[in-house]
Structures are given as C-alpha cells and as structure tokens.
Amino acid sequence: MYGLENISAHNGWAISFVGVTIVFTGLTLLCLTIAQLHKILDIWENKDKYINNRNHKTLTSTPANAVPKPCMPVEELETIRQYKMIADRLEQPFSLPKLLDIAVKIGLERPHSTINTLLVKKIIISDGKGYFIWTS
C-alpha cells in the first residue's frame, strides 16, 4: 500500500486532524493570553490600587443598579481637596504643568480632564503671566 490508502489504513487522517486541532487550539489560547496580557500587567503594576479597591468594595457593597461614576467628579470635594493640597505645596502662583506632572506621578484619576474641569469652573485661573492661581 502506498499514498492515500496507506494513510487511511493507519488512521492518518484522524491523526492529522487531531494534530491540527491541538496546534490550532494552542495558537488560539496563546493569542487570547497575549491579548489579555496588558490587563494582567496593569493589575501587577497597580496592585496596591486594586487591593485597596477590593477592600473598599467589600466594606461598602455597591448596589447592582448603581449609576456609573461620572468621568470627572469635580463636584466631589475630595478631588478638589487633593489638587488643592498639591497646589498649596507649590509656589504661588504655581506652574500648571508642574501640578499636572505631580497629579500624574501620584496616580490621581484622570488628571488631565480633572485639571481642565478645574480651569473651566475657574477654580484655577491664569495670572496672565503664564502661572496659575487657586481661587477657592
């Protein structure tokens, strides 16, 4: 026996199919793993934040139909307080890029849009010379 007959006689088709399936499944799993790798790395890099969030969630259970948090909760005094504390540590009037830089470094949530909201709400205003003043 030669050729295709020989393949059929020794379960060649089934073996090939199993082989292809194993390889394909392996590649699919590899793709999915790589695709999700950034999430794992993100969790690893911000593990303290995740642990704190988890502890906080267990203490204050969130209702299932809770309204999602707005993108910039500037109304919350806490956010303003955090930025005010940074601004107070800088020389007055302060450098806005420096405030942004510190906010980014200490990991405040969405520092760019938060600072924009503070500007729009005139909590931070320009002194007209390139520096900024905290008004409230």
């Binding site: 450098s95 890029p97 942004l100 760019h112 600072i115 924009n116 500007l119 320009s126 010379k129 390139g130």
Partner: protein, 139 residues
Amino acid sequence: MPAGLELLKSIDTFSTFTQEELEKIAPLVNPMKVMEGEILAKMGYRARTFFIVIKGNFLLSFKNGKAITLHNKGDIMGWSTLVAPFEYRGTVIALTNGEVLALPGQEFYLLLQSDSALCSKIMNEINSIIASRTPYHEV
C-alpha cells in the same frame, strides 16, 4: 465639498481667506482625533506638524514652567513648523479628548513659499500668535 475645506471655512481665523486660498490649503488638512493626555508636540523636538484646534482643551507648556491653555476652535499650535529653527517652543498636551486639523509642516511651508499672498495672510496670523505667546517663552 471636501471635509478639510468645510472645516477650514468654519474657523474664524480663515474667514478672510478666499475660496481659492482655502482650496490650496485643504488638501494638506488631516482631521485627527486626540485622546486625553496625548502629547501632540514636544518642546525642543523638530516641528513637523501644524495644528488647528477644532474641539477640545489643550495645555501648552514652556520650559520655564509657564503655560497657557487653549480651549477655542481655531486656536493654533505648532507655529514653529513655519518659523526657523523649526523646533517646537513648547509642549502641547490634550487635557480632554478632542479634534484637531493636522497639517504636515514641510508641505505647508512649501505651499506658503509658492504663494506670497497666502503666505502673507498666514504669517500675519502667526505673528500675532507669536506676539501673544512671547512673554511665556521668556525666562
């Protein structure tokens, strides 16, 4: 009407430009979405792109810690693409998601070199921007 032309017409800065002049600029215009926190230009780097704000909010910071914020349609960033030594004088960061028109600096520069009337109008705008921002560049 091409999208670029329509967008240019909607900007006050270009209100004095003729249809023919706008048609010359329009092919160079690339509407571009920007993300919050995105850096559009970096101080000291070769100025390759000229930006016109369509929407969004931007922080323009200079080396001495001074900064200005841009919030209006038609605000211009990256004028250094048209002025020697063709290096960005400040860093531009998007404070929010937005949209800008990006013009490749070299092509825009060549266009202006080939059309003195257009060049004069653009440079008038650029000069007023330079004049208004010069105090921030100074240490």
